[in-house]
């Protein structure tokens, strides 16, 4: 099953950037459950999708749920990611440790100059901006409109990553 999924992903990647969008959120969810390798592949698909989002796309739709933790505060940030032409729309939640969950919304684009994925979002009335590696979707940083900053660490995609929201 894992091998078949991997081969399917590699086939999609080899067919060109447009076909990356064929991978549905349901498939990403299933892949994330299988093993760490498929989790990395799912991340690679998103990274390829984000990189290929410039300058334009012929497809618009959701590609699944992706989560990060905001170190050092342990907030868990999860977004439904929807392709909107050359950019992606983020709709999700920002869960504060042991307190509450705020709605979160924003946009993500690929920064050609710096070669990083740029995420901008708002939650709890605070604006954030983040930079993450396009391949690993982690090793990034965030800062907010109040001057706080920290690291962004990718938790995974699909329902597997959403488990981090459950205590």
């Amino acid at each position: 099953m894992v091998r078949a999924t991997r081969e399917r992903l590699l086939l999609l990647l080899s067919q060109g950037i447009r076909t990356n969008w064929i991978v549905s959120s349901a498939k990403l969810n299933r892949m994330a459950k299988e093993d760490k390798m498929t989790k990395k592949l799912a991340a690679a698909v998103l990274a390829m999708a984000l990189v290929s989002a410039v300058p334009c796309l012929s497809y618009a739709g959701g590609i699944g749920v992706f989560c990060w933790t905001l170190a050092p505060y342990d907030n868990i940030l999860c977004f439904d990611v929807d392709v909107k032409g050359f950019a992606m729309k983020l709709t999700g939640t920002d869960k504060m440790p042991d307190t509450s969950i705020d709605g979160a919304y924003g946009a993500v684009v690929f920064d050609n100059t710096a070669g990083v994925i740029v995420m901008d979002w708002t939650s709890g009335g605070i604006n954030y901006t983040g930079r993450i590696d396009p391949i690993t979707l982690t090793d990034g940083y965030w800062l907010d409109s109040n001057g706080y900053e920290g690291g962004l660490f990718f938790l995974g995609s699909g329902h597997q990553s959403l488990k981090s929201l459950v205590k």
Partner: protein
Amino acid sequence: MKKLAVFAGLLAMACVVPSMAGANDTVTFCWQMQATPKTIVCFNVESKDFTSSLTGFTVVPGESNNGAYGSAANDTIAGNIAMAWTSGCVNYTARINITTLAGNWQNGTGDKGTLTPVTFPGY
């Protein structure tokens, strides 16, 4: 010019014919934010029931960019389009002419200027 018509049409539809606006038509449009002469803001504009969703970026060509997200609505009282978006941790508002799509912007840090529709290569 065709884009101008489409953009204005989408916003008009969102107000007049909500059911048609639900079709989620999209169009891309870019503006130059003057007073910060090199900054370009580009949005994918998606029609909703009575407003439009904005998803895109702001960029100084050749330099790093930021994601941008917000909404636009047809202000039938004032007779223009009201836009609000956030980018790089800063909140922006703008009013643009429904025909020319040119107008004025200001942000939460006190900066302001004009918005001029432009063609941004690749978008």
